[in-house]
């Protein structure tokens, strides 16, 4: 059994990198808006199906489907936020979080209404796994990994070097002070939702590329996504990446001991263990 460990480790790193994409989106929104937006779970589904429509219905290549997934989930995210969540924010984080679960129900069923409950697959060429030493890796996995790393690099560059990124970090640190400095926090909040949900939708597409997609896709991944963000420290971008790696490798390694049915429960285990020792996650909140 132990000779499988390197393979699990490799799978875990790839899965962790994919998981990091939606986790970073979730975390970025949390850092600016200060509430856990649970509708991330269904926005991942929205992204996966937007990508499906672009890829299968319109026949676009995967890279263009990624762009479609980003834009559709970003726009829908902003609409949901404007209609349902922003007016509630003054009543506290929990009220808004609960309303965002209502958002999950609505969005998931909109997808179900349009596409039905059936499993669907992307239009991808079948290719043989690459083998080296005793390890196997699919070319699609490598593509996904590269896309995930590319997105991550763009996010870091935007947060680190652009005016928008600086403004977002300022609002995340101290909204009152940022407002005094002439930063429009409502506008920044809107941008955070646009980019956050866009990234989440792209992440949903990447997670769906590996196998079939159905309206429950995002919901199946909600535990690992939230676990990644919480384990690293809510609102911290490096934390979300670190958390995603911990959860991704942990889930794959758990296959040594547990039945695959409990893979997604590993995230829950990590949440409880890490939070028992560090109630604010490994890196703490808002570490940039």
């Amino acid at each position: 059994m132990l000779d499988l460990l390197p393979q699990f480790l490799l799978n875990g790193i790839i899965y962790g990198a994919l998981l990091a994409v939606p986790a970073v989106g979730f975390s970025a929104m949390f850092s600016v808006l200060r509430f856990p937006n649970f509708s991330v779970a269904s926005q991942a589904t929205v992204g996966a199906f937007a990508g499906y429509a672009a890829n299968v219905w319109l026949g676009w290549p995967i890279l263009l489907a990624v762009v479609a997934a980003f834009l559709v989930s970003a726009v829908i995210g902003v609409i949901v936020d404007e209609v349902a969540l922003r007016p509630l924010r003054k009543h506290g984080a929990l009220t808004t979080a609960i309303a965002s679960i209502a958002g999950v129900v609505v969005l998931e069923n909109v997808v179900r209404f349009i596409f039905g409950n059936d499993m669907r697959g992307y239009d991808l060429p079948l290719v043989r796994d690459l083998r080296f030493w005793d390890l196997r890796i699919g070319p699609q996995q490598i593509n996904n990994l590269l896309i995930a790393l590319g997105i991550m690099a763009v996010i870091f560059a935007v947060l680190r070097f652009t005016r928008i990124g600086k403004a977002m970090r300022a609002v995340a640190d101290n909204p009152g002070l940022a407002e005094l400095k002439g930063i429009d926090s409502i506008q920044i909040g809107r941008l955070a939702v646009f980019f956050g949900m866009g990234i989440v939708g792209t992440g949903g597409l990447l997670l769906g590329l590996g196998n079939s997609i159905d309206p429950m896709l995002g919901f199946r991944f909600f535990l690992p996504i939230f676990a990644a963000a919480v384990v690293g420290g809510l609102g911290s971008t490096p934390g979300a990446v670190l958390g995603a790696m911990v959860v991704g490798i942990g889930e794959e390694a758990s296959l040594l001991l547990l039945s695959p049915a409990y893979k997604s429960a590993v995230g829950f285990l990590f949440i409880v263990i890490v939070l028992s020792f560090r109630p604010r996650g490994i890196l703490g909140e808002r570490a940039y």
């Binding site: 600016v32 808006l33 200060r34 509430f35 856990p36 649970f38 209609v83 349902a84 007016p87 509630l88 924010r89 003054k90 009543h91 506290g92 984080a93 929990l94 009220t95 979080a97 609960i98 309303a99 679960i101 209502a102 958002g103 999950v104 129900v105 609505v106 998931e108 069923n109 909109v110 179900r112 209404f113 039905g116 409950n117 609002v171 909204p175 009152g176 407002e179 926090s185 409502i186 920044i188 909040g189 909600f222 535990l223 939230f226 676990a227 919480v230 809510l234 039945s259 049915a261 409990y262 997604s264 429960a265 995230g267 829950f268 949440i271 409880v272 939070l275 028992s276 109630p279």
Partner: protein, 299 residues
Amino acid sequence: MVSYLLATLVIAGIYAILALGLNVIWGLGGMVNLGLAGFFAVGAYTSALSSIGGLPIWLACILAMVIAGSIGALLARLTLNLRGDYLAIVTLGFGELVRLIAANELWLTNGSDGISGIPGPWRGDLTPLQFNMLFAVLIVVLVVTIWWLTTNLRKSPMGRALRALADDETAAAVAGKPVRKMKVQAFALGSAVIGFGGALYGHYFSYIAPDLFRPLIAIYIFLAVTAGGTGRPSGAVLGAIVVIAVLEGTRYFGDVIPYLSGVKVAALREILVGSLLVVIMRLRPEGLIPARPTTRANI
């Protein structure tokens, strides 16, 4: 038709019991429990399995409460130091964990096929209509009893202390209240009540399966508690009735709008329920038990 109305009444009653349980945790204790479906399932499976195993139904229900309550205490104990938003994520995860176990531990739960043949009180001696009537009366009596108990709890010294700590934990601790112990107790008590609701569900329908315990249940119950407003026990009961009225009212959607498949009708109903929760929250935010105001600006 009479049977349908009685069944609707029973469901409304069970939702009212869940709402009353959530009200103790959320309304009084100020803690969020999005894992409601998990406690509902724990109660349902415990009571179903132990009564099939030969335990009298009333004893099986008590066992369900004890086990759901103990798990609630354990979860609360583990999460004592967590802020509300972290607690929301952990409890949501707990609910999903229970659903995974129910779907995969075939030796115990029979997996996704579910458990059938759960005994109901005097089911063998009564006609189906008589059984429905008996159970409806039983549920009404139980809802009134739990409503009365939780109303008294709210007014009792423990209830007042709980509300104080929901408002300001530090102040309550300074005033010498055993804050941590009380939070665990409130969570355990509420979880036990929710578990009881689950037990009743199984004994009425004689069938349970993991699919019944989707997080959607939590939405329904939060909708009930929110619609009822103020977090008072009467509001929780009233809210449950409103939610069931909406759910049952939309059942006939398919007849009104032609050419829609069953999946599309079901999707439309859930879209409606989700939107309704948002609308009610927008209209009556003061009906919610306020989460402690954050120091962050409201952006």
